[in-house]
Symmetry: C2
Subunit: 354 residues, 2 copies
């Protein structure tokens, strides 16, 4: 295959590689999906949906969805940007705010899409290592002269920073943008959403993929000062005026409005996570403190990559990263109680055989 | 509102402005939407949809939809790229193939998103004027040393180039990419899809928005040599791994598979277009020959912008472009027979009052 018609930038890209999406039946604990279905109201919405409305373009402003988000999160509509998944929101943010004059810093161990965006838009990066306990290197980040993107809770560690640390970072330099990627915030972290009114250098990014069980829908959003939102809109409207389809706008709104379902399912996941970490500990695993819907854990004696492979043979898919510093760890999404029990049984079988 | 945190590129953007999407009831003939609903099978799909599957990420490769497209269009799966609307496909193509070394040419009068993409990605452009009859300036395009993007049929003129002209252009320089934007191809033009096997410098872009009545769904696709498709995938996977949600993949597939509905509705639109052009002619309008689901027409005496405003007052929305060369024209989407009859009555009323 010849790449002679690719431009120079395309030739140097190293795309992001998401976790496997197997088409065969398995216990799937590898991409941090929610084990529970989305709000049952989604079912009613789809069965009653006026399908002929799809002949018309969607509302380009996602106005109704914005209203729902504004009400739920206590922000104004002009403080909200909606994208085709939080990945699109993050991509637009990198493109809108960072460049050679404003490079971006992020930790060595974090969401691996950040360096991919930087490469796509030719943005210089400053990779600042997490400390030896995987804590955020906030001191080093604060002295960096440029933008920052932090996942809070971080991935794949699951560890969260308190709000006070975020405020400290925001105050350290009002002229740099701080993006807080809160994809996993609803499982125990402290959201920075309430800060956007006071800190015009803060952009908070969230998604319906995890805590609203809608990874298949592709809806993410950012909260920030209207000036930041306007910049994201400028990028979007120079790229694709209609990024959120009519169905996605309506389904996401129904999910946001069903607070009861949201509270019930996230509470279940947190409960499962806590007993599962305790049970893993009895098997000799060391698990980082998690505020996410996944855990990052290190087997005491066995080899992590081998465990990953053996589980896969048993039809259980988790995530293993063959990367420096974390190649002795496994990332495990929190499924239902039954799924986690089956995983524990599988771990026991494997460990007993060794 | 301060733009102090915007980067230099964002500050210079001039976003695309789509046609109005009014939220009030009107006869809407301004954004080339299909007046007929999508395939009735879409309704069944949505009522039977297993909503809990939305908790999982979509298939990142849109494999089933690709199979359906491959079968319908007689191409291979690796010759297909699917995007979040054809606007996203076009944006990725500009980003993947054009740059300072490979500038892009397009006509002065065409889809107004092309210069917006070029500006977003800092791609130099060569604007080549249509001739005095709005024909494609193919001679001038052929001698241009760079890439080309052509809408065929063109917008907002509705005029189409024959396949022989496209072949001629492809042969003129195998080292330049030619993008043929076929958003409106199904209403009478000759598609270049069959050429992608023989011309590795050809990318054909289509959409389900118009001829499949699914503007609200956001699914577009490109056909091209596997090397071109691979480049688009590199861009996408450096931007957003999951651009097409689960519902969109399934709904688009159902629409593509329903060839009968597609043939019936596009035939109706073509028939309506032809009698409507004839009726307009009797009112003194001069209409360009259209192969699209819209027409571009010039009133004999009245002022086009005034007609646009007066129609709006009567609850009929069409499109007027306040731009050099075309500011005496009106673009009118082809609606149902009833809608076009109401428009004719409104025109008559207005013309009789003057």
């Amino acid at each position: 295959m010849s790449d002679r018609l690719w431009n120079a930038n395309t030739k140097k890209l190293i795309p992001y590689v998401p976790g496997e999406q197997p088409r065969t039946k398995c216990i799937k604990l590898n991409t941090n999906e929610n084990p529970y279905p989305p709000s049952p109201n989604v079912k009613d919405l789809l069965s009653d949906f006026k399908y002929d409305s799809l002949r018309l373009y969607p509302d380009p402003t996602s106005s109704n969805l914005k209203e729902g988000l504004a009400e739920y999160y206590g922000v104004e509509k002009d403080e909200i940007f909606i994208g085709n998944g939080s990945d699109e929101v993050l991509a637009f943010a990198f493109q809108a705010f960072f460049d050679k004059e404003m490079p971006v810093a992020f930790p060595d161990i974090t969401y691996s899409f950040y360096p991919v965006y930087a490469n796509l838009y030719s943005i210089p990066t400053e990779i600042i290592p997490l400390d030896e306990n995987f804590n955020m290197p906030l001191k080093a980040i604060k002295v960096f002269k440029g933008g920052v993107v932090l996942a809070n809770p971080n991935a794949p560690t699951g560890m969260a920073e308190p709000l006070s640390a975020i405020i400290d970072l925001l105050k350290s330099n009002p002229d740099r943008l701080v993006i807080i990627d809160e994809a996993y915030i609803d499982f125990g972290g402290e959201t920075a959403t309430g800060l956007v009114r006071n800190y015009e250098n803060l952009l908070v990014v969230q998604t319906v993929s995890k805590s609203r069980s809608l990874a298949g829908l592709r809806v993410g959003y950012a909260f920030g000062n209207p000036s930041l939102i306007k910049a994201l809109e400028c990028i979007r409207d120079s790229f694709n005026s209609y990024t959120i389809d009519t169905l996605a706008q309506k389904v996401a709104l129904v999910a946001i409005k069903d607070g009861t379902w949201f509270e019930q399912t996230r509470a279940k996941i947190i409960k499962t996570r806590e007993w599962f970490i305790a049970a893993l500990s009895e098997l000799g695993f060391t698990t980082l403190p998690s505020k996410a819907n996944f855990i990052f854990t290190k087997p005491s004696k066995s080899c992590a990559s081998e465990l990953y492979e053996l589980l896969k043979e048993k039809g259980i898919l988790i995530r293993y990263f063959r990367k420096p510093r974390i190649d002795s760890y496994l990332r495990i999404s929190i499924g239902t109680d039954e799924e986690m029990e089956q995983l524990l049984i599988a771990f026991e079988e494997i460990l007993n055989q060794n």
